[in-house]
């Protein structure tokens, strides 16, 4: 498939953000992104507005504070998806298409049971993105080390231990497993190669606050499903797409590309190779 034929659905409801940035990066890379409101997929809308999930190759749940993050971050959006779009989402993921949740989008995928999805998509969440240890909104550049050993094909352009700078901006991002079951779940996640990114410091070492901005278990910043095509992470790679978006952009660094660019390029390459 040619790059221009890769159709990217950036899903919106009230309170999502960064959809413009996400759309821009895919456009910049030569793909065909479209910002689609959930109602365009599930409701009776005029025919020219009606869209079908099956027409896309990449589905992005962007960041934000969907439905005001009422109840819990991502919970309302997940409930709406469960009631109206669950089967389509299941089909989309089962076809191996790329599903990407960034920040609030990650929270939605966890609430939906798609992530981590150990043993399949779960009816109730297997993990939680709990309130940051600092109890407030953390907005800072974070460094992520790529940990995947090869499961996640959409991110295969990253090499093991490569670091990526991507800004974090969230209040509820502490990746958490059920108490008493943490070790078992972590082992399962690691064995299945579902860990994608972990927070590190400038030396590339796993470090505490503020490098790990929220207190996530095992410094986890991003994970994938057992097949590797459903991806979720708290930091925003679209916000480090250009070099000038890096906080140290005036000091060294060659070329216009930021760290986040590879994240999207890799996903597009995967789609072009497989569909």
């Amino acid at each position: 498939m040619k790059k221009g034929d890769v159709k990217v659905c950036i899903l919106l409801i009230e309170g999502t953000n960064c959809e413009e940035e996400t759309s821009h990066v895919f456009e910049e890379l030569g793909a065909s992104p479209e910002r689609v409101h959930l109602n365009q997929l599930v409701r009776d809308v005029p025919p020219e507005l009606k869209r079908s999930l099956e027409d896309y190759h990449v589905l992005v749940f962007p960041g934000g504070f969907s439905s005001g993050d009422y109840v819990r971050a991502g919970a309302i959006w997940a409930a709406r998806l469960k009631s109206r779009l669950l089967q389509d989402l299941r089909t989309f993921a089962s076809e191996g298409k790329a599903v990407v949740g960034i920040c609030n989008g990650f929270q939605v995928l966890v609430e939906l049971g798609f992530l981590p999805g150990i043993g399949g998509i779960s009816e109730v969440p297997q993990a939680a993105l709990a309130t940051n240890d600092s109890a407030h909104y953390e907005c800072r550049p974070t460094l992520l080390k790529f940990e995947n050993r090869g499961l996640s094909q959409p991110l295969s352009r990253f090499h093991k231990d490569q670091t990526m700078l991507a800004p974090s901006a969230h209040t509820e991002g502490k990746f958490t497993f059920p108490q008493g079951d943490e070790r078992r779940m972590l082992t399962a996640l690691d064995r299945a190669d579902q860990i994608l990114f972990r927070y590190v410091d400038v030396e590339g070492e796993y470090a505490g606050y503020p490098w790990n901005p929220n207190g996530s278990i095992h410094n986890i910043a991003g994970i994938c499903n057992p097949r590797g095509n459903v991806i979720g992470l708290m930091p925003h790679p679209e916000r480090s797409f250009y070099r000038y978006l890096h906080p140290d952009w005036t000091r060294g660094g060659d070329g216009p590309d930021g760290d986040g660019r590879l994240f999207f390029e890799s996903i597009l390459d995967y789609v072009m190779e497989n569909f």
Partner: protein
């Protein structure tokens, strides 16, 4: 019509930064005898249902499907008479 409240709280041992920070602020304001604060969310729900058993069952499902995340939360349901 039945009324109910649903309390959703963090499980014991799960970090409660909102409670901890409220405690800190209260201590700073001079409430030195406040030893612990826990953050609890309460939903007040009006149900078009007369049968208490059915109401409880419905509320239970609501908790599992939306109001609580079982990984970090426990909940209690109180029917109001």
């Amino acid at each position: 019509m039945l009324k109910a409240t649903v309390e959703v709280r963090l499980k014991r041992g799960v970090a409660d930064p909102e409670g901890d920070n409220t405690l800190k602020a209260l201590n700073l304001l001079g409430f030195s005898r406040v030893a612990a604060v826990r953050f609890i969310k309460v939903f007040e729900v009006d149900l078009e249902e007369e049968d208490e058993g059915k109401a409880e069952e419905m509320l239970e499902t609501m908790c599992r499907k939306l109001l609580a995340n079982p990984v970090i939360h426990e909940y209690s349901i109180h029917l109001l008479h």
